[in-house]
Each structure stands twice: as structure tokens, then as C-alpha cells.
Symmetry: C2
């Protein structure tokens, strides 16, 4: 089967996806009989290009990186992102516009429009899940399409798909995880005797933290992930502001030292626990001991633990994810949809 | 859809499966529109029962546990296990006869016969995978059926299904894991100052080790798991005797103490690593440091790590699996096949 793909959003994730698609082209054909062409790419500030016969990805990357922009490659004029979606004619839209934590827009509208036009939607944008999971999933189902978002939590590691395909007929009782790299890096630097500010700098140097790292440090990023997990895996719609949230600003070197002396480490722990028909969701610094798989989670490594009625406690650890892993989650969603 | 199930093997796993089927009956109907009847149960030494209208599982468990045997419940005479397979008329056979590491028999013949007769086969029996994976998988495919075996490694935790449904279009470069509970328990007891023999006794008291624990201690159980993983996930047929194997008999209290002093722990590590078109497989005690997710794996907890070309290092940890978890793997395979 041949699929026409469109990439809306051509930042770090979108460009890694383009490279991954090139690298996996032969493998997709040989293992899954999937062929594809990328009929459209829309960037934030470098224009957009549509070619019904397929764009040359190498050329598109060069046009982007040279700063010339994508317009010269386009066979159609493109006004804006909605115009792009209407004109691209794709079978699958990869929605990777920047996350808007407060409303999920414009990504929600992008996804909605693409589904209405008959495209599958794959996204790494947490905003769509937190703000419109039910709406987009129902719309997709009504059209015989799929809305997928594996890359929104723990990069490309299979989390959502685990409960779609593997852990079936199970009751999910609780979730715990360490899901924010910036906080984890800062706590690690403080364990080595560094200051909070040094930790922030390290995370920024590594390209993990934003210039303004508050969303990470104050637990918002973690709260959004908890909300997404709870909404999708427990079926209980949850907004980030519903999550009890305490960041790592109040953690002092003395507290870190005391924990170490007791054989423990501070981790910014995400959690969601069913209580009757409701759920208790929380982000807060906790001390964990060596008996916990969270104990060894360092740097940008992340972990998620699922407690169900049928398996003991199942943990998934993603060690040192590289820049390709988020892009890989998008690719895996695509392959999963069409096979 | 209604499915007729047959349970061949009614030991600990088979009986837990029966209880789990009863417990999940409503959930399967409500969430997946699956209904089922168990039309046959064959035990090792308590006879067999076939009832085309469905057996009462509670009654079957009582008949087994009271020692009266299952014959009184049967509407047909049953000569032996092959006769059972021919007469049971099931859609799905759960093959849980005892493992024969040397040949895989009689489980391989059971599975083969059931597939020939048009049944899906689900098994927790490692022998079938190590000795006949390709044969049984090809036969199943030719008949439009499935042969599944999630419970053969790490109980019910999703391992094989992860590469069937989640980690798609990926190259698996290496596998590492701690997959033998007896060895891990013994090493743990020795870390607490106990002797090797005390460790063996503890594992036996917990029902984890056999009366003769050599298969665990000498690394055979781990080697079989490595062979199964390599055969299925890397596509390279591997026998347990192909695996470089070193058990834990040579580990002394002094070695354990030295490792601890260095901040490390001994683990019986399973590994498989692609080298060109071949694979290097190994079971041996290794010292691991706190940076490894293996470090915190205690007691009956197990871990497996996958290195691919698309995700960093992905680890799955199953903490304190209960007796139901192997049975759950069988149930999940069944649901996966029919949904």
C-alpha cells in the first residue's frame, strides 16, 4: 500500500521524522509492503510546500536548514496551516506544531480538520490529548480513521500502545513515573554537590530545558503527562490543573544530602491512583529507596510503572533517549495504523 | 464471538488460568464481546473431561483438588492427550503440559496436532518455542491461525507481543536480562550474609526452585529463555546448548562481599547480541552497578532490556509477579488473537 504523508511542523521532531522516514524507506517496503511519499511539509517560519507527486525530503531539509524556506519547492500556494491541511491531500497527517498547554490550539483544530478530511492523525503534541482526546478519538472512530499520540509521553517508548495491544482485559489501578528530564537532571547535579542553578544550566546546555525552565521545575510538564495518561489509560478526563502539583524548587542541598545519607534519592514522581470511580493525581518530589526501579533513573532516562489487577508491577524504562526517539514514536504509530 | 477453549495441562498455571477465566468472564464480554466455554480439560494424573456444552470450571477445580479426578465430568471417554485434542472440538488450545527441555515433546506434537485440526494454540511451554518455533508459526500462518507464547519468558509481561505490535520497523541489536528467579534469590540471600545452600532452601520454600534446582543454578533455564528470545525476536534459530553458559555455583561469599564493597551486585545476566548475521548468546554472572536498571532487580523480580536502532535502551521490569501472572499471559494471548 502507498501512503501520502504530510508533516505539519518541521522543528526538531519533524525534521528527525523526515530523516527517519528516509532511513526506514526500504525496511518499510520490505517488511510491511508500505511505500510512501511526503506530499506536504509546513514549517512555523520557513513557509510550506505541497507537491502531490511527493517532495524530495533531502531537498526540503536543505531548504529549511539553509534558511531559504520551502516555498520554492511548492507546486501550490499555501496561505496558512489550515489551508495546508485542506490542500495537501495526504492520507496521514503528522501534527507536530508547538504545544499550547492552556488550550491545545492550534493543534486540536489541525487534528480535527485533518480527520474531517479523511486523514489519520499522528501527533507528538500533548495538548491534543489533554484538551481533546475524547473528541478526536470519537471523530476518528466515526470516520474509520485513527488518532495516535505515542510520542506525547516518554518519547517513542510504547506506553499507550501497551494498553491497546498487549495488556488486555486488565484493570489499571495506578501509574507512577519519573517523566521530566529537566527536574531529574537538576536533582542529579545537586546530588553531586552542585547548586539548583547549576542544574538548570546543565539541563539547558544539553538542550533539555527551555530558556525559561519553569514549566519543568514547577511540575507543569509532568502534570500534563499525568493528565494525558489518566485521560487515556484510565478513561478519566483530567486536566493538568486537576493534578496536585509540587515542583522541585523547595528541594535544598541539605534535603538531598539527608536522603543520600539514608540511602535514598529525590525524584519528581508523577502518580495517578484510582480511588473508587475517581482518580487521585499528583506530581511531587519523593524520596525513593533502592528497592524501587525509580532509584536508578538518572539524567534524561525516564520510567513509568503500571499496577494492574493481573500483572505484578510492570515498569518500562527508557534509558538515554536520543533525538530520534520521539520521531520514532510517530513512525511506529503510522506503521501500527496501517498494518 | 463465542470461543470454545480447551486446557491441556491443569497444573499450577492451568488452574490459575481457569480461575482467571472465571474472574474475567464479564469483563471479556463487556469490553471485547468475547464469550467462551471450556469444552475440555486434560490433567497429567487426574484424568480428562470433555463436554461440548462446556464444563463448569468451579466443579472441575474441585474435582481436581479433591483428588477425585475429572473423568466423572466427561461426556466422552478420553484415552490420552492426543485423543483429547482430537475429541475436544475447541477453537483455542491452551497447551500447558510440563516442559521438556531436551526435545520440547510432547508439547510440540500437541501444538502441531491442534493447529492441524484448526485450533489456535497458546502456550506457556518454552520447549515449543525453542524446538519448533518456525515449524509451528508457519503451520499456524498457513491455516490462518495463531501460535502464541507470551508466558514463556517473564510470565505475563509483554515481551514477544512488544515486537509484534509496538516496536515496529526496528532492528533489535541486543537483549540483556535477569530472567531466573532462583538464581536471583540465592544471590540476594548471599548478599545478606547467607550461604549458597540457604539461598537454595529459601527459593524452594517460596515454591520458586525445584527439588533439584540445578537447571536454575547452572543457567539452563536462563539459557532456554535466551534461546527463545533470540529465535523469535532476532529471527536466528538458537538452541539452549548454543548459549555460552555459566551458572552461579562458582560465586563465593567473598566475591559477593567484594562486589558490594565496590558498590556493585552480582546478577545472572542473560544476553544476546547480533554480530554481523550471527548472534552471540550468553548466560553468566556479571557485576552490575547502580547505573544499570538491573541493579535493583531483587528476588523474583525480572528485567529485560532491548537495544534497538530507534529507541535508546528500553527495559521492562516485572516486580514480584504473582501466581496469576503466567496465567494472565495466556489470557492476553487469547484476547490478542481473537480481537
Amino acid at each position: 500500500m502507498h501512503y501520502k504523508l504530510a508533516l505539519l511542523g518541521f522543528g526538531n521532531v519533524g525534521r528527525h521524522l523526515a530523516r527517519l522516514l528516509m532511513r526506514k524507506q526500504d525496511e518499510l517496503r520490505q517488511r510491511y509492503e508500505i511505500t510512501f511519499s511526503v506530499v506536504g511539509i509546513a514549517t512555523g517560519r520557513h513557509g510550506a510546500a505541497i507537491d502531490p507527486d511527493g517532495l524530495d525530503l533531502e531537498q526540503a531539509l536543505q531548504a529549511y536548514e539553509s534558511g531559504h524556506g520551502l516555498e520554492p519547492l511548492s507546486r501550490l500556494p499555501v496561505d496558512d496551516s489550515l489551508d495546508f491541511i485542506h490542500k495537501c491531500g495526504a492520507d496521514v497527517l503528522f501534527e507536530n506544531s508547538p504545544v499550547n498547554h492552556a488550550t491545545g490550539e492550534p493543534a486540536v483544530t489541525h487534528a480535527h480538520t485533518a480527520l474531517e478530511l479523511g486523514m489519520h492523525v499522528v501527533t507528538a503534541n500533548k495538548g491534543t490529548v489533554v484538551h481533546a482526546y475524547r473528541q478526536l478519538t470519537n471523530l476518528a472512530a466515526a470516520r474509520g480513521l485513527s488518532f495516535r499520540f505515542e510520542s506525547t509521553v516518554m518519547d517513542g517508548a510504547p506506553i499507550f500502545s501497551l494498553f491497546r495491544h498487549n495488556i488486555l482485559a486488565a484493570q489499571l489501578k495506578s501509574i507512577r513515573g519519573v517523566l521530566n528530564s529537566t527536574s531529574n537532571l537538576i536533582l542529579g547535579v545537586m546530588e553531586q554537590g552542585g547548586s539548583f542553578e547549576e542544574g538548570v544550566r546543565r539541563a539547558q546546555e544539553m538542550g533539555v530545558a527551555e530558556t525559561d525552565p519553569s514549566a519543568d521545575i514547577d511540575g507543569w510538564d509532568a502534570a500534563i503527562k499525568v493528565a494525558a495518561l489518566t485521560t487515556v489509560l484510565m478513561g478519566i478526563p483530567t486536566k493538568p490543573q486537576d493534578v496536585q502539583r509540587e515542583g522541585i524548587r523547595a528541594i535544598t542541598p541539605e534535603m538531598i544530602a539527608q536522603a543520600r545519607a539514608d540511602g535514598q534519592r529525590y525524584k519528581l514522581v508523577c502518580s495517578a491512583r484510582r480511588v473508587g470511580a475517581a482518580v487521585e493525581t499528583r506530581v511531587r518530589p519523593e524520596r525513593v529507596g533502592i528497592e524501587s526501579p525509580m532509584y536508578g533513573v538518572d539524567g534524561t532516562t525516564s520510567i513509568i510503572q503500571f499496577e494492574t489487577d493481573v500483572l505484578g508491577l510492570l515498569s518500562v524504562v527508557e534509558t538515554d533517549p536520543g533525538p530520534e526517539t520521539t520521531a520514532y514514536g510517530l513512525l511506529a504509530d503510522f506503521v501500527n495504523i496501517v498494518t
